[in-house]
Amino acid sequence: MAEIFWWVIFPYIAFAILILGSFYRYAFRGISWYAPSTEIFEKRWLRIGSTFFHWGIIFAFIGHVMGILIPRSFYLSIGVSDHLYHFFAILGGAIPGLMVVFGLLVMLVRKLSIPSVQVHTTFAEYYTIILLLLVAGIGTYMTIIFNTTVVAYEYRATIGPWFRSLFVFQPQYQLMSDVPFIFRLHVVLSFLLFASIPFTQLIHMFSFPGRYPFRAPQQYRARDGYKNSRP
């Protein structure tokens, strides 16, 4: 039963909260949708913390796509052996992981120690950073220490197929039963993080302004707002 809860019910609830919560926030709390910048108060530490963290998390995201979403058979078919894969996965996971953890630590210390930043930090922001730190810290530990000292765990045979099975609504929770505890903890905390997104400033990641390079530099708008002046 517990298996079904953790690997079927909980993930779906988390996704449902993420999707419905984000829509709700967009539609009814739209004015609170922003990147939580504190740069106006402090720049030097932010530069280090934010830059390391964000670039790290972008690479970590790419790494997760490569490890979890892309199946093992694909790598084998293009001639990437398991050994080769793990060599690069450990290297490619360790660097972003360390960047993320380091960036988060800098951001956390900055929040605690710089008075003008500290007074404006909310509970949700501490919660976000600490949860991110847990997820990223465990993830980095798995990559660097567990994989090299205990066993180079083949998550592409268990966690990967299970995660993909969620999206076709045929959850294969049995796959998760033999996964090492530390990996399961990472997964559960990640889903908790996903469910937290609509209630924290993490929603800013959905606003990445990717259209910017393609739009006209100058923007004109008519006052009544119901018609665009430019075709």
């Binding site: 739209g30 934010s50 923007q219």
Partner: protein
């Protein structure tokens, strides 16, 4: 030709007394709330001085405005791709130390302090941290009237550029006031800097606004504006800026800073321009040509063809009428005595400045029988160095400043002759010739600059809401309009429809 109307302002610096009434009324109306304590949509700075925020003119540091590379305009802080790569941390943004840490005073203490030998004091308390501040070290107009003198004046980027050493001895110093608001530029770099497209220029009147619901707080506009007139509200995490008091101008009233201006230095009116010429005007090679290029985008509101095309473009008749009586058109385009602030930023700013006259450095020895022509060299010896004014108002072209100052001096000489006499005839003087003007023009100028009344200084057509297409809808709009606006529930990220 794509005709657009623009509300614009002229500030006649000769009349500014540096009283800050404009700043205070603006603050009370717009920025008197948490997150905006440090913000002054209107500020008046003593020049020479660092300004607000400190060194805002230092484009090497804040990287505001446009530069020309291979004949093409580029944002100085980097284009869209560079910006997206820097989105996690904006290296060029000013922080609070460049503005100041705002504070209030602990007034409660004055009421509650027990009786003691010494009078109680209200200690300064930061409105950022809520903690007492032992010693505020910078604040709004900390450097007013050259306070801080030789320590503060060299922080002025224009001063650093001056060739000759500027004297800080009391007898030789100079100063002037520079009131500043957002310029509501024709080629606004703040708009181009916004990754989300939250900033926009209004079609009807050219006012540049921030869509508070679209703004995501990426903060590139703040330093993207070379005049540093977009501000980050740390409370709402959105950018805010001067909105030209559009709720007032739409009702035909002047902005609050203009309404309350004690020196009556401000003028507001409509100008018509050709939006298709803007890019070209902003891209001329030599910065010194930018002033003339900027003038070339405006259209003569008396020209029948312009009127016809303006009507075709949907510009209301009352707006055209206003454009014809516009004090801005007279001062900036016809008489050319009002100049754009830092034209070299290539944003085509729409707040124009009449440069101030200043006392003459050397005594005029023969004042009693001074001829009109005797004022020609006087203009070159004024206390505010012409290079300094040129550095602010004409991209270092002193000939532009000289011509305006000559015109202003000629106006004074002529009006003095008219009211007290004793001058030789203006009509034949070399002064009139060098200033490139006529007696009639001087008299018109004197009227507008010195004695014009409220409705001559402010010629503002109302917002013509009756022309809005959705008025019928609004009249019958239902109480859940907020939930179900006529354009549909979710508009972003899709284009808004053309629904009436």
């Amino acid at each position: 030709m794509r005709i657009k109307a623009q509300v614009a302002m002229v500030m006649h610096l000769d009349k500014c007394i540096g009283c800050h009434t404009c700043s205070v009324t603006c603050k009370n109306v717009w920025t008197n709330r948490p997150g905006m304590e440090y913000v002054w949509f209107n500020n008046v700075e003593t020049r020479p001085g660092p300004g607000y925020p400190k060194e805002w003119e230092n484009t090497d540091r804040y990287k505001g405005g446009w530069t020309l590379r291979n004949g093409r305009l580029h944002l100085r802080a980097g284009g869209p791709v560079a910006k997206l790569a820097n989105i996690f941390y904006n290296p060029n943004m000013a922080d609070l130390s460049d503005f100041y840490e705002p504070w209030t005073y602990d007034f409660e203490h004055l009421h509650k302090a027990p009786s003691k030998e010494h009078l109680p004091v209200a200690r300064p308390k930061s409105t950022i941290t809520g903690k007492y501040m032992d010693k505020p070290e910078w604040g709004p107009n900390w450097d007013d009237d050259l306070a801080g003198g030789s320590e503060v004046v060299p922080m002025d980027p224009n001063v650093r550029k001056l060739q000759e050493h500027i004297a800080m001895e009391y007898e030789k110093t100079f100063m002037m006031y520079l009131p500043r608001i957002c310029e509501h530029c024709l080629n606004p770099s703040c708009v181009a800097s916004c990754p989300t497209g939250a900033l926009y220029k209004r079609d009807e009147d050219g006012i540049v606004l921030v869509d508070q619901e679209a703004c995501r707080g990426w903060r590139f506009c703040q330093n993207g504006c070379p005049y540093h007139k977009v501000y980050y509200n740390w409370n709402t995490h959105k950018a805010e800026k001067c909105n030209f008091c559009y709720p007032r101008t739409e009702a035909g009233l002047p902005t609050i800073c203009s309404e309350t201006c004690v020196g009556r230095i401000r003028y507001i009116g409509v100008v018509l321009y050709d939006a298709d010429r803007v890019k070209k005007a902003a891209s001329v090679e030599d910065p010194k040509d930018l002033y003339e290029a900027q003038l070339s985008v405006f259209l003569d509101p008396q020209d029948p063809e312009v009127i016809e095309r303006a009507l075709e473009a949907g510009i209301n008749r009352s707006w055209i009428d206003s454009a014809q009586q516009s004090p801005i058109y007279k001062m900036a385009m016809k008489w050319k005595i009002a100049l754009p602030l830092h034209p070299e930023y290539r944003t085509l700013p729409m707040v124009w400045y009449v440069p101030p006259l200043s006392p003459i450095m050397n005594h005029l020895t023969n004042e009693h029988d001074l001829s009109a022509d005797g004022y020609i060299p006087a203009v070159d010896q004024m206390r505010i160095p012409m290079e300094y004014l040129a550095s602010i108002l004409s991209a270092d072209d002193t000939s532009v400043i000289r011509r305006v100052l000559l015109k202003m001096a000629a106006m004074r000489v002529h009006m003095r002759d008219k009211s007290v006499g004793g001058m030789d005839e203006m009509k034949k003087s070399k002064l009139l010739q060098e200033a490139g003007t006529t007696v009639e023009e001087l008299e018109d100028m004197a009227r507008l600059l010195a004695v014009s009344k409220y409705n001559e200084r402010f010629v503002i057509p109302t917002g013509r809401r009756e022309m809005d297409e959705d008025l019928h809808y609004k009249r019958g709009a239902c109480s859940i309009e907020e939930l179900a606006p006529p354009e549909g529930m979710v508009t972003y990220p899709f284009e808004r429809g053309d629904t009436p």
